[in-house]
């Protein structure tokens, strides 16, 4: 164990730095920033630095998986402001799922433009009646000649209005048992019969949507896996989502923000950051955040050599949301009178203020599976306790 990563990684970091020195910022900027970023991303992928797990024929760079190298790339690219991997739902969830379970033509058609950012995806999983109990979904699809015909409703669909395509879970085998009746389809969001209704949230954002399907058609072969295999295909994807929520970097960033805020906020005529009660609370939260950070780093190290992180890995999501709530309490303390106000106009997830996070933290206990589902997973898979009857 070492505070450095060792020679192999030091050499890799050198390589990354050298590449950046050559390629970013671009020698001849085109004037179109988006085009420059895209060109740079293509170049970085060719050099084996981005989308390492994806083969070259699908637009990736075909390298052996190595989370530490991924981390080095993220760090050094971020430090130079160079565009890194896109991290939308298409890149994080759909593309790996297709890679694992898609037909050859699907991989060729969809993965490369998704990684390049030319195709934007949204996810059609949750329904009003099925939250944690995803498998109880009722949106149905019937094969009619050369197309599936979809009818029903999805909810909590992020970015539905911006998306080109959706990957959607539908019930295609109504007579099969709950989990066995589901298929995983792809769908053009411009198809007739789709209605999108934004869902305004507590903090004023309208990030989520309801999506209604009135006899919407999608080609018969836009199915991933076989009929009735949708549940197992979705589980492939869900495991990616679980790993991606609440990364410790986001928590560390929030902690930095809350400390910045506590330096300007005042308590008893002095900066809040000097208040012993606040400092003690801050230290408690830092204890949790540090533990989470090092636990995830440890899991990465294990992953690199093919070891199973076990119990600690199963706890990530619950710990992440819990740290998020703890930080929200610090924000609320630091907010002072701003705690009476809505988040500032134009505040978004990437540029959050205290009020934004105080409210948003309440949604993280829900996103990506409620905390109670996480507790069951930890208890059953992590501690070997008996499964809930009926779940």
């Amino acid at each position: 164990m070492d505070l450095t990563l060792g020679e192999e990684y030091d050499a890799f970091r050198e390589e990354v730095l050298q590449f950046l020195a050559e390629a970013w910022p671009p020698r001849q900027p085109s004037g179109d920033e988006a085009a420059d970023a895209k060109a740079f991303r293509r170049l970085a992928t060719e050099r084996g630095l981005l989308y390492r797990r994806f083969p070259r024929e699908y637009g990736g760079s075909g390298q052996a998986p190595d989370p530490l190298k991924d981390r080095i790339v993220r760090e050094e690219f971020a430090r130079r402001g160079a565009p890194g991997e896109l991290a939308g739902i298409g890149q994080k969830m759909l593309a790996p799922t297709l890679l694992a379970r898609g037909e050859e033509w699907q991989k060729r058609r969809f993965i490369a433009p998704t990684l390049a950012g030319d195709l934007v995806w949204c996810q059609g999983y949750s329904e009003p009646g099925s939250g944690s109990d995803l498998a109880s979904l009722r949106t149905r699809a019937v094969l009619d000649g050369d197309a599936w015909v979809i009818a029903g409703q999805k909810i909590w669909t992020s970015d539905a209005r911006a998306a080109d395509y959706m990957f959607i879970l539908v019930r295609t085998e109504p007579d099969a048992p709950k989990h066995a009746g589901i298929s995983y389809l792809l769908l053009d969001m411009k198809a007739p019969g789709i209605t999108i209704r934004p869902l305004k949230q507590m903090n004023g954002e309208a990030h989520f949507n309801e999506v209604f399907f009135d006899e919407v058609r999608t080609p018969a072969d836009w199915i991933v896996g076989k009929r009735g295999e949708g549940w197992s295909v979705a589980r492939t994807t869900l495991s990616f989502e679980r790993a991606s929520v609440n990364a410790p970097e986001a928590m560390d960033d929030l902690l930095r923000r809350v400390k910045d805020q506590a330096r300007t906020a005042r308590r008893n005529g002095r900066p809040l950051i000097e208040d012993p009660v606040f400092r003690d609370e801050l230290a408690r939260v830092e204890g949790y955040a540090m533990a989470h950070r090092y636990s995830v780093l440890r899991q990465m190290s294990m992953d690199t050599v093919g070891q199973d992180p076990g119990l600690a890995g199963l706890c990530n999501k619950l710990v992440g949301t819990d740290v998020g709530l703890k930080i929200a309490r610090l924000f609320q303390e630091a907010a002072g009178d701003a705690g009476l106000l809505m988040p500032g106009p134009g505040v978004t997830r990437d540029d959050m203020d205290a009020m934004f996070w105080i409210m948003r933290s309440m949604s993280v206990t829900i996103a990506g599976g409620t905390s109670n589902i996480q507790r069951n997973i930890i208890a059953e898979r992590g501690l070997g306790l008996p499964r809930d009857p009926g779940s």
Partner: protein, 377 residues
């Protein structure tokens, strides 16, 4: 102490709750929440007709002549229903005029506050978390004029009279029709209780003789605690009811012991807290020595409990609980108000401790302890 409500007390609280529930059913809460100024006149008039405008105003001035505990009981009922409007500032302003006003001041304002013809409010805090009188800068000049700014004034733009906290710990009365004040609306989270920043420019003001800011702060704390108790109980009830109807994995989620125990823990956090604000409200009038400490503890404890209840409730509701359309968010934002308005819980805990555990001295001398127990008995 006798923790028993008289029939009249129970009846008033009941009437307010029934009226507010009925009106909320008819859409007033949501309408006010989405409205420009957060004031629904017919609803406020209806509350005033029940006596809410003058609960604490003496009968000779047209009020109900009741005690602060009665005002607090109304606050709990309004909190349970997340009722919109200027209640908080109005009743505290009336208290200030009744306690500290001259006879002409009382005559001028109390009857019209009691009938709801006029709306009152209080302007205490100044910008930058300054909730304590010793942090204020506003004072009267030699000609009875006021200049400067107050922050977070409830319903300032619709108020007819403002009770303003002064840097010397005193209070002044400003009639808005006399001019000299400008109100800037704030984009508040709790849209059932709106706030404005107010700038005074040579505004005509009258001093309230013997006005005492500290007493108003304690009165406010009691009402915030009462509101928080009402709101937290409602959040508990909403969530329990939701759990009974929401199905997952083929059964109501209320059947999952995990959910049951979360709700039971929530109940255990909230249900015992009623006496905390009751005691503070009664001590407010009957035990001056304990007034500030009891009010601070009630505000701190209930401010925290309501906020945490909101967090738990959103988690148990799932996605729906986080939407603008579902009413839970209205209570969550009332919790944010009760938490932050008047200063955060930590501030009041520090105050309460400095009132009971002075540096390096024993808590209280023994004879005081005995007396305190008598009072409690």
């Amino acid at each position: 102490m006798n923790f028993h409500l008289s029939d009249e007390q129970a009846a008033l609280q009941d009437a307010v709750r029934r009226f507010a529930a009925e009106q909320a059913e008819a859409g007033v809460r949501r309408r006010a929440f989405e409205s420009e100024d957060g004031l629904d006149r017919p609803f406020w008039d209806g509350l005033v007709a029940l006596g809410v405008g003058g609960v604490g105003i003496a009968e000779e001035f047209g009020g109900l002549g009741l005690d602060w505990i009665d005002v607090a009981l109304v606050a709990e009922a309004l909190g349970y229903e997340a009722a919109p409007g200027p209640f908080l500032g109005h009743v505290v302003a009336a208290l200030a005029i009744q306690r500290f006003g001259t006879e002409p001041q009382k005559q001028a304002w109390l009857p019209r506050l009691a009938t709801g013809e006029k709306i009152g409010t209080v302007a205490l805090a100044e910008a930058g978390e300054r909730w304590r009188p010793k942090e204020w800068s506003l004072g009267l000049d030699g000609h009875g004029r006021l200049s400067g700014a107050k922050a977070n004034v409830p319903y300032a733009a619709v108020a007819d009279v403002l009770v303003v906290g002064l840097s010397d710990g005193g209070l002044a009365l400003v009639a808005s029709e006399a001019g000299g004040l400008a109100c800037e609306p704030l984009d508040v989270a709790d849209r059932t209780r709106r706030l404005w920043n107010v700038t005074f420019r040579d505004a005509r003001a009258e001093r309230l003789p013997a006005g005492d800011c500290a007493l108003l702060r304690d009165a406010l704390c009691v009402l915030l605690a009462a509101d928080a108790f009402g709101g937290a109980m409602r959040v508990l009830h909403m969530t329990a009811e939701y759990a009974k109807t929401r199905e997952q994995f083929g059964q109501a989620i209320a059947r999952f012991q995990g959910v049951k125990h979360q709700l039971a823990n929530l109940a255990a956090e909230i249900a015992p807290c009623q006496g905390l604000y009751w005691y503070a409200a009664v001590a407010f009038e009957q035990a001056p020595d304990e007034r500030a400490q009891a009010a601070a503890m009630a505000k701190a404890h209930l401010g925290d409990r309501f906020m945490e209840a909101g967090r738990t409730a959103v988690e148990l509701h799932g996605g729906i609980g986080y939407t603008w359309e579902y009413d839970l968010q209205i209570w969550v934002k009332r919790a944010m108000f009760d938490f932050a308005f008047g200063g955060p819980p930590s501030l009041h805990r520090a105050r309460a401790m400095s009132l009971t555990a002075p540096r390096a001295e024993p808590d209280r001398p023994p004879q005081d302890k005995a007396r305190a127990e008598e009072v409690l008995a």
